[in-house]
């Protein structure tokens, strides 16, 4: 787009600036809309599994429910507790929301359709997602209230624990793809198994890692069954207890933007991103735009997330830690060794 603006006679710097701003808006605005609709979808799926109707009053089929909620939240009063640490209290939701948005800069939507095609894309995602915990910790501490503080401690321990196994999973994907660039990783999955199946998830050595990543991504976004940070039976509403109005809405939006991001990462890292699942032209298979494949996969994973939320009871905290440290960590470490050993044998050859 930069070149297009330059052809209008703009200076390079300004053309780049304008193109980048437009690129950011093209990603961020539909993302906000997607968050609103995905909250609606979440509630509908959850309701259907509980044999309820879910939101059905505002708009046709209740489609406008999220917007009504947004409007309501917008019109409410922002309450800052007297004992709270004012600056940090207001900073926390901003951090959560910003972090949830900046990660989308490196997500490739189609071949070449990506805002920042940097060669450390995956590390950038890891870095940004490890920042996400600060929003929660700061919110919990700045509220100066017991339950939010417990929630913040839980969140910190939970996210740091699961990031360890997520790190190993990502490294095994990077080993196979040979690059940290997300577009490169997707392209590396083309015709990966038997020259037929697109996606590292179809590879028997990487499939267990895909499962570990799916479950860890639920833990990382603090979704059910790992939503101990806001376990309502124990902690009221967790770190958001003292928040109201837009500050609460920012947490809400950031949380769901993170969930969509994790679904997108599942699709991109293991299930071929914008590529169709099979590398043969069945129906007009390749004519379907890649972005639709990606969205389909994201929606599928979101359905899985909702499904799990509706059906799996919440973990106890010690069970959560056990799963992270005693099961996922050894498992992902073992597979990391297996994968690097296999690659040494097949791809590089073992000297002597």
């Amino acid at each position: 787009m930069t070149a297009w603006f330059e052809s209008w006679g703009m200076m390079h710097g300004w053309a780049w600036f304008l193109a980048t701003i437009i690129g950011i808006l093209i990603i961020a605005l539909p993302l906000m809309l997607a968050v609103a609709m995905i909250i609606y979808a979440d509630r509908k799926i959850w309701a259907a599994m509980a044999l309820r109707r879910g939101p059905n009053v505002v708009g046709p089929f209740g489609l406008l429910q999220s917007f009504a909620d947004g409007l309501k939240v917008f019109l409410q009063e922002t309450i800052v507790p007297a004992a709270a640490n004012r600056g940090l209290f207001l900073l926390a939701p901003i951090i959560t929301f910003t972090i949830a948005l900046i990660v989308w800069a490196v997500i490739p939507f189609d071949a070449g359709v990506v805002l920042a095609d940097i060669n450390v894309g995956l590390l950038y995602i890891l870095a940004a997602s490890s920042l996400g915990v600060y929003g929660v910790i700061i919110a919990g501490w700045a509220s100066n209230s017991k339950y939010p503080f417990y929630s913040a401690l839980r969140a910190a321990a939970q996210m740091v624990s699961y990031e360890v196994s997520i790190g190993f999973v990502l490294i095994s994907v990077v080993l196979w793809a040979g690059t940290f660039n997300l577009s490169g990783i997707v392209l590396g999955q083309e015709a990966h198994v038997f020259g037929l199946l697109n996606g590292y998830g179809f590879n028997p050595l990487l499939f267990p890692m895909a499962v570990v990543f799916l479950i860890s991504s639920m833990a990382e976004t603090a979704r059910a069954p790992f939503d101990l940070t806001e376990a309502e039976s124990e902690l009221v509403a967790g770190y958001q207890t003292e928040y109201s109005s837009m500050a609460f809405a920012l947490f809400w939006l950031g949380e769901y933007a993170n969930v969509i991001l994790m679904c997108a990462l599942n699709a991109i890292l293991f299930w071929g991103g914008w590529l169709p699942p099979l590398d043969i032209d069945l129906i007009p298979w390749f004519d379907i735009p890649g972005i639709l494949w990606l969205f389909g996969k994201i929606l599928f994973f979101f359905f899985v997330f909702s499904w799990v939320k509706a059906t799996v009871p919440r973990f106890r905290y010690d069970q959560l830690m056990r799963l992270g440290w005693k099961i996922f960590l050894p498992l992902s470490l073992t597979f990391l060794f297996l994968i690097s050993g296999y690659l040494m044998l097949v791809r590089y050859g073992v000297p002597a």
Partner: protein
């Protein structure tokens, strides 16, 4: 142009955040300023073209180390007045350290003005188009392999040491043994008793 601006932005924020880290009254604020300093240092690395180091700085320091710092500091019950009281006592020592650092800086600048040292020449210049993860990996796993492995061993020993020193098995708890729970079968744990009238069940 934009690089220069970005450099001054990051550099000023790093220094300001560092000053605020040591002057902030509240230890939690101190840690948060420290995090800001780490983050901007990563920005400086990015400008220097070391994007891998920048990302590692954010992932390791900001994402893990500082979270644990914050975790510990938040749970500490700190008496602010007492902390202030120590200020005068440590002042001479702090001034001495500052003096040594200032002398070193002056010395380094003078040495730099005198011309480069031969030892400072790069041993293995990386190709310009190579991503710096690759360049670094190539050096770490060939030329510096033994040093790298030794550093890894030191960290491993430190980790094992920390666990050995702090781990203790607590008595009097009944931890969950998940394997035993899964292994348990109904027929092993239930009995069908048919007690006749007037007789109880022996457990």
């Amino acid at each position: 142009m934009i690089q220069t601006l970005a450099f001054y932005l990051f550099a000023i924020v790093v220094i300001a955040a560092a000053v605020l880290t040591i002057t902030a009254r509240n230890p939690v604020h101190s840690v948060l300023w420290l995090i800001l300093a780490f983050f901007n240092a990563a920005g400086l690395m990015l400008i220097a073209g070391a994007e891998f180091i920048a990302m590692l700085l954010v992932i390791v320091y900001v994402g893990a180390v500082a979270v644990l710092f914050l975790f510990v500091v938040m749970m500490l019950d700190v008496d602010f007045a007492e902390m202030r009281a120590g200020f005068m006592r440590y002042l001479p020592f702090g001034l001495l350290l500052a003096l040594v650092l200032a002398a070193e800086v002056i010395f380094a600048v003078a040495a730099w003005n005198a011309g480069g040292v031969d030892m400072g020449a790069r041993i293995a210049p990386a190709a310009g188009d190579m991503p710096n993860i690759e360049a670094m990996g190539r050096l770490l796993y060939t030329r510096y392999l033994y040093i790298f492995e030794a550093a890894g061993l030191v960290l491993l020993v430190a980790m094992v040491g920390a666990i050995v020193l702090t781990h203790r098995t607590r008595g009097g708890t009944r931890p969950q043994n998940i394997a035993r729970q899964v292994r348990r079968r109904p027929q092993d744990s239930t009995r069908n008793m048919k007690p006749s009238v007037g007789q109880g069940v022996e457990l």
